[in-house]
């Protein structure tokens, strides 16, 4: 018999409807699982226990209806999503005790769907990092191997799903922060098209890059969640007014004749051989499923990393100007205002945040602006054009999500450039605003490998169709992390 955490969201829903299990029982199971695993993986920064039981009991009283597909399902939120009355720190000392006065739009939508919030998950400080090691509070571990990082910046959310604490968690993706940890943890993570999901209530890093997305164990679950969180929001002018389809409708349809492009730049040097082999095997699977495979070139994506760091750091610098300790958050009182600013921000922010704020400031200073910021804007346009040309030829692009499997704790933290290069395959999508889906496609030494499915703008439905077809033909998504009793060798 399956453990509860092996059941899909749909199976759990049916059990609620049939009253085989109560929402309260499942909520308790989630907290029991958390108590068991948390000392090892340290995925959570705040728990929502009392409120979770209250909402569970409320849902039980009302009963879960057939069409309430997510009612009672436990979930976790990355700690940069604002939750009214529950601390939201972005894993930074500067917001250590910050209790938001309002909910993010996504949080409101999830509450309306009656999902049960278990807690807030660890992350890289202000989402600046790729390993969850820049968190001020703790280092989260990979559920497949506790000596490895969970990836980042949404590493806590990914680890919480992989460890079986919650079937659904939420992350934000500015340069790969949903997809890379999903790859490292053997789960499914979606960065939607820029504008698909409201950013209101997300602590901003890069205004033109950030998107909130679901992290789940299967593609079908991921689509169910996107149905709930997608759509225009009057509080976010960049959210799209485009109609939101039912993303589960394409799931189960075959992919015969779907044109899949494989960018040569995604399959070249710098990619771990075992990762390349797993992706090659995935390509064969798609061929067997009837897809048409075609090699594609995206000549400018190799410039994505420097372009991204100039632009996102400039936007991040501006977005973080308000965090000065004067109205909320950590503050150091000093004799003068200038000293107060300097001490508050130098002690409130970690090294990586300060590094990026300085980089952002440097690239916007008038004498540097043309050489850095303006050049980066031009290159961003070239990268966008690369993708537009590619999508005139094919329907979907695929490649690895990350160049390697999860690496060791503390292995790269002292070498920021190595860390930045770990996002070279995910960053181009953020620069272009395109959607990307990471799905499990293999293992190396017991560590998951992720396949990145890249869609054209607002084509999440087709991405889910392709991802689900792959899941149906393989069983990588069904493997369970070693720390919860899975086969460590995958």
């Amino acid at each position: 018999m399956k453990e509860w955490y092996e059941l899909s969201v749909s199976e759990l829903h049916q059990k609620f409807v049939d009253r085989d299990i109560s929402v309260r029982e499942l909520t308790k199971a989630a907290f029991d699982r958390l108590a068991e695993t948390e000392p090892k993986i340290e995925a959570f920064l705040a728990l929502n226990e009392e409120a979770a039981y209250q909402s569970a009991e409320q849902i039980d009283q009302e009963g879960v209806k057939d069409d309430e597909l997510l009612a009672g399902i436990p979930m976790a939120l990355k700690d940069n999503l604002l939750t009214k009355g529950l601390t939201t720190t972005a894993a930074s000392r500067s917001l250590e005790n910050f209790v938001p006065p309002f909910d993010a739009t996504v949080v409101k939508k999830l509450a309306a769907a009656k999902m049960v919030l278990i807690g807030k998950t660890n992350m890289d400080e202000f989402a600046m990092g790729g390993s969850t090691e820049t968190s001020y509070f703790q280092k989260t571990k990979n559920a497949w191997n506790l000596s490895k990082v969970p990836g980042g910046s949404s590493g806590g959310s990914a680890a919480a799903v992989a460890a079986g604490i919650v079937p659904v968690a939420f992350g934000s993706d500015t340069g790969g922060s949903i997809r890379q940890p999903s790859s490292f943890n053997g789960i499914v993570g979606l960065k939607p098209t820029y504008g698909r999901v409201s950013r209101f209530g997300l602590i901003a890093l890069g205004t033109t890059f950030d998107q909130i997305g679901p992290m789940t164990r299967t593609v079908q679950e991921n689509a169910l969640i996107l149905n709930v969180i997608a759509g225009h929001d009057t509080k976010d002018s960049t959210s799209s007014k485009r109609a939101v389809p039912d993303f589960t409708q394409t799931i189960g349809q075959d992919i015969k004749g779907v044109k899949i492009g494989v960018p040569e730049e995604y399959m070249g040097s710098g990619i771990q051989p075992e990762v390349l082999a797993a992706v090659q095997k995935a390509i064969k699977t798609f061929e067997e499923l009837g897809a048409q495979i075609q090699e594609i070139s995206l000549p400018h994506v190799k410039l994505g990393v420097p372009v991204y760091y100039i632009l996102s750091c400039a936007e991040g610098m501006s977005n973080m100007q308000a965090i000065d300790g004067l109205r909320y958050g950590f503050d150091v009182s000093a004799e003068t205002l200038e000293e107060t600013y300097a001490l508050t921000r130098s002690q409130g922010f970690g090294e990586e945040v300060k590094r990026r704020l300085m980089l952002g400031t440097y690239s916007l200073i008038q004498k540097n602006r043309e050489d850095y910021f303006e050049q980066a804007m031009k290159l961003r346009t070239l990268i966008i054009q690369d993708f537009k040309r590619a999508f005139q030829q094919v329907d979907i692009l695929i490649g690895p999500t990350a160049p390697t499997v999860a690496y060791g704790l503390d292995e790269h933290i002292m070498n920021p450039v190595t860390m930045y290069m770990g996002d070279e395959l995910t960053i181009p999508l953020n620069l272009a605003g395109l959607p990307g889906l990471s799905i499990p496609c293999g293992f190396h030494e017991g560590l998951p490998i992720g396949l990145q499915v890249i869609g054209n703008y607002f084509e999440e439905g087709l991405m889910y169709q392709v991802g689900h077809a792959f899941e149906t033909a393989t069983d990588y998504h069904a493997k369970i992390a070693a720390m919860i009793g899975g086969d460590q060798n995958g």
Binding site: F102, T207, S237, Q321, A322, L326, R327, Q366
Partner: protein
């Protein structure tokens, strides 16, 4: 050889816009700024108070009023308008940046004429958001009223030649006359006009000198004289940005200028991408 300084002086006129909500949030405008309300800051607005997670959304009524004002001054309307963040840590701007329209304002190249000889170029007409109001409490401490932060302001920028001597009283009367033609402008609103003078000195690097919180014609006249005579000295001190404030000592009935900020670098400008481009033909 001495540096050649090209000095340009700008006169900014700010008019509060009578819209229901703030410029970049759906929170209603608050106009109280007394010492009683300042201690409370009772109308929190997550967007304009710089709370994490808040996103700017444009008040389109403010844009509409701005377009009407730009037309009054004969400006060429921009096809697209954008807002920029002028980033600088300052307690009067809780978001950490002022909202300005420097590159893509609502209108450009207008005019203000007294007669054939006396005229000023209206460099731009755009929108900006009110800063927090600084006050000194009973213990002599600096306090800020943030309730007014983000209220929409019309910003009219006039360009003066570096040595141009003008009589502000005449021009100000003309500005008021022009604005009075707008159906939504009344005398009470015109009483709330505020001003700023800026000198931009272009040598090897751009140097700004701003004089803020000017309230009366006498303030303006004094500040202009200061800029025309003193900016050479300021530039030689190699200070790229200085902000001065005009102080009126009501006991002795005397004015003085006090430098309130000096920065080693210029403002960092960045388009506010929370706000998509606004195409005026669609407004």
């Amino acid at each position: 050889m001495a540096n050649v300084y090209v000095k340009k002086i700008q006169w900014f006129v700010y008019l509060p816009l009578p819209t229901k909500t703030k410029l970049l949030s759906s929170t209603e405008q608050v106009n109280q700024s007394t010492i009683e309300t300042i201690l409370v800051n009772q109308y929190p607005d997550p967007v304009t108070w710089g709370y994490p997670g808040g996103l700017a959304t444009v008040n389109h009524q403010a844009v509409k009023l701005g377009v009407e004002a730009a037309k009054i001054f004969g400006c060429e309307l921009g096809e697209v308008i954008r807002f920029e963040r002028k980033n600088a840590l300052d307690p009067s701007v809780p978001g950490g940046y002022e909202i300005v329209q420097e590159k893509f304002p609502i209108g450009k190249n207008g005019r203000l004429e007294l007669n054939d000889q006396e005229k000023l170029v209206v460099q731009s007409v755009g929108l900006t958001a009110a800063k927090g109001v600084e006050m000194i409490d009973e213990k002599g401490r600096r306090r800020f009223n943030y309730d007014v932060v983000g209220n929409p302001l019309l910003k009219i920028a006039f360009s003066l030649d570096q040595s141009q001597t003008i009589v502000f009283a005449s021009y100000l009367n003309q500005v008021k006359f022009m604005l009075r033609q707008l159906s939504w402008v009344d005398d009470a609103l015109l009483d709330q006009l505020t001003f700023e003078l800026t000198a931009v000195i272009d040598t090897k690097q751009v140097i700004h000198v701003e004089i803020t919180q000017l309230q009366t014609v006498a303030d303006l006249q004094l500040a202009l004289a200061f800029l025309q005579t003193k900016t050479q000295l300021i530039s030689e001190q190699n200070r790229p940005l200085q902000v001065w404030k005009l102080i009126f000592d009501s006991v002795n009935q005397k004015y003085s200028l006090e430098m309130i900020k000096s920065m080693p670098s210029e403002y960092l400008l960045l388009f506010d991408r929370d706000i998509p481009d606004i195409y005026l033909k669609n407004e």
